[in-house]
């Protein structure tokens, strides 16, 4: 690599995080640490019914017995679970505001600053937003309009009270609390997140979106999202996240469950931009996420798209259980790591039903001193006749201080199923750089353009409103000045 390329890349490593501000607001917090009292406190703050509390306590007992998962390619410092606040909510939320007029203006301003206006007239047309601030949902827009179609879009805390039968039936049905220690932890202490129910044969007319913001210090965020698409329905859901810039690490441990019944389709997109730590590796969010979708009915479809640029450490494997015959699972991912970030992300496609199909497109870009791993599991069970998988993972290495790793697991127990897997790792092609620069583009512009092209297959899967943002985010993650 020539000296100019290295110079350009050096600049890239000095990335600036634009969402690092803190909102000064009075909060109610649980006592530090995790015990039954903490869980009772959370449940009480949320006015939960008894069944919910006892479910939480069961999960807590499971968690106590479970070991921390180990990852080959991640170096995770020991996390002191007694040194975290498990609940934090703005004081003004003692009672949930009925409409935006009752919401603390400071909060509305915070979201405006993040580019997420909550006043409906200012909201991007066609996007309904649920804004989660630390442990509580601040506001949900367009609720009324959605209600007319029978669509439920609210915070999970609210759904526990208003739709207990659905929550009871599906919560923990895709990710059993005993799956691993973080699924048990989340089930015990989850604070807020979104709940979506799309009734039979309804195509949700707008993008549903949740925006997660961690504000309070030393606070963990335990998001829980549950999306149920009933027979023949369709929904597209977006998730975005940011956090203030701090020297200490913070934990975000989410559980997301999707259920698609017969002929239903769920499209789930994430743009993850949690604070990644500074250029010396200090601070940043630990983003430990369990996301799983169940294609329960015939001909159902679940599609995950993610753009991962943030967090100090990420592990996350949005997965599909393809149970219904002819069901489809998709995973499109861009993961960019810079400085000292570590990411271990990928997917799991479990083919159970006949004629199930899955597709995995993963693009990893490693810069600085970061480590970026794709880990994926494709398995065909005995009865998955004529199932198919296509996987493509490409990694780009920029500089010789970082690492790019590809760890696929492929397991076939069916002789009519076909799996095809391709992967490649290389540096930015110097011939492409030369070509772009010969046409007058600067070195930086050329790199940004080529990397965006490299990610195109994934970015084009994002809903329109997000795609442009994501493209910019890719450019910003690379350096910060290309526009």
């Amino acid at each position: 690599m020539n000296s100019e390329t290295i110079k350009t890349l050096d600049n890239f490593s000095k990335d600036k995080y634009k969402y690092g501000f803190v909102t000064e607001i009075d909060s109610i917090r649980s006592k530090k640490g995790l015990n039954e009292e903490t869980i009772k406190f959370i449940s009480k703050q949320k006015n939960e019914p008894e069944w919910m509390l006892s479910w939480r306590l069961d999960c807590y007992k499971k968690w106590l017995k479970m070991p921390q998962p180990e990852w080959a390619n991640l170096k995770i410092p020991d996390i002191d679970f007694q040194d975290i606040y498990y609940y934090s909510a703005p004081k003004s939320f003692k009672k949930k505001p009925k409409d935006l007029n009752e919401v603390d203006p400071k909060l509305i301003e915070t979201y405006n600053k993040l580019g997420i206006p909550l006043e409906e007239q200012k909201v991007l047309a066609g996007v309904a937003v649920d804004a989660v601030f630390d442990s509580v949902s601040v506001a949900t827009t367009y609720k009324g309009e959605l209600e007319k179609l029978g669509i439920v879009f609210c915070s999970i805390s609210e759904a526990v009270k208003t739709h207990p039968e659905l929550v009871k039936k599906y919560l923990g049905s895709v990710i059993p609390p005993g799956d691993h220690s973080y699924s048990a932890l989340n089930s015990a202490v989850f604070t807020d997140g979104s709940f979506v129910y799309i009734p039979e044969n309804v195509k949700c007319p707008m993008e549903l979106s949740t925006y997660f913001r961690i504000n309070a210090e030393e606070t963990g965020q335990f998001e829980r999202t549950l999306i149920i698409a009933d027979k023949g329905s369709y929904v597209s859901y977006l998730e975005g996240c940011t956090a203030p810039q701090r020297d200490s690490n913070q934990l975000h441990a989410a559980n997301v469950e999707l259920i698609a019944l017969e002929n239903a389709e769920i499209k789930y997109s994430t743009v993850q931009n949690w604070y990644p730590g500074d250029d010396e590796g200090k601070g940043g969010i630990y983003n430990f996420v369990t996301k799983r979708g169940l294609c329960k009915g015939k001909n159902s479809k679940i599609s995950w798209t993610q753009v991962e640029t943030g967090s100090a450490i990420t592990w996350k494997y949005p997965s599909c259980i393809l149970k219904g015959d002819n069901s489809i699972g998709e995973f499109y991912s861009v993961a960019i790591t810079n400085n000292f970030q570590q990411a271990d992300t990928g997917t799991k496609m479990t083919h159970i039903g006949k004629n199930t199909r899955s597709k995995i497109i993963s693009k990893g870009i490693s810069l600085g001193k970061s480590q970026n791993t794709y880990r994926g599991n494709v398995s065909f069970l005995r009865k998955a006749d004529k199932a198919r998988n296509y996987t493509q993972c490409d990694s780009l290495l920029v500089g010789n201080q970082c690492g790019a790793h590809t760890v696929p697991y492929i397991d076939s127990k069916n002789n009519s199923a076909i799996v095809e897997h391709e992967a490649s790792t290389s540096k930015i092609n110097e011939d492409q750089l030369y070509y772009c620069r010969q046409r007058g583009l600067s070195h930086e512009e050329a790199v940004s353009l080529i990397v965006n092209g490299f990610c195109k297959q994934v970015l084009q899967e994002l809903p329109m409103e997000f795609a442009v943002e994501a493209q910019k985010l890719v450019a910003i993650s690379l350096e910060g000045s290309v526009g």
Partner: protein, 246 residues
Amino acid sequence: MIFLNINNLNVSIDGKKIIDNFNLNINQGEIHAIMGPNGSGKSTLANVLAGNEDYEIISGKIIFKDHNLLDLNIEERAKLGIFLAFQYPVEIPGVNITPFLHASLNSKLKNQKKEEIDSLSFAKLLRKKAEELSISSDMLKRSINTGFSGGEKKRYEILQMSVLNPEFTIFDETDSGLDVDALKIVTEGINKFKNKNNSYLIITHYQKLLDYIKPDFVHVMRNGKIVKSGNISLASEIEKSGYKNF
């Protein structure tokens, strides 16, 4: 103003000398052709003019529009008006020509302290130029050079040239890999774009290309230097008896 002057240029790659005491002068509006057998250093010359960093310039001077070219990097030379039509245009998956060329053109306009062009007008301009070269709008939607045939790639190069409007274009074996029909379309484009202000340097192995584009001067290159210069009759001589006499 000196348009292009190459003076005593010596270039090597991996310690091997490719260009040896090379001299050439091109004035505004002229068409020059350099012919030579494989390995004579023709393509190296094209890449050295464009600023490719793989080559080591041992000595010599290149003046272009009164600028010392060797002090400038690749994109600075491009902005100054040098365009290289590549022999093998590289595929850039996922990158569409419209934003790519729009950024190119604007960087050039900015350099000339001219007003930048907005995306709508640019899209119109691109479509118009594409039509002139019978490039379908479908082809404009594809990623740059990705999955193109040899002829399509070369037409794409000419399209980019006509949009960027360079004063000096180097055609590096533009005829290679083209059948007769494709060659006709490409050379028509090249001729259409020619005016009294821009100059061409055509690098080719065969004389065939020069049946379509008439050069003012023909040079024969061997072992890194020009061994003979003349007019178009030199090309017919090569066609008849090859390079062995040079």
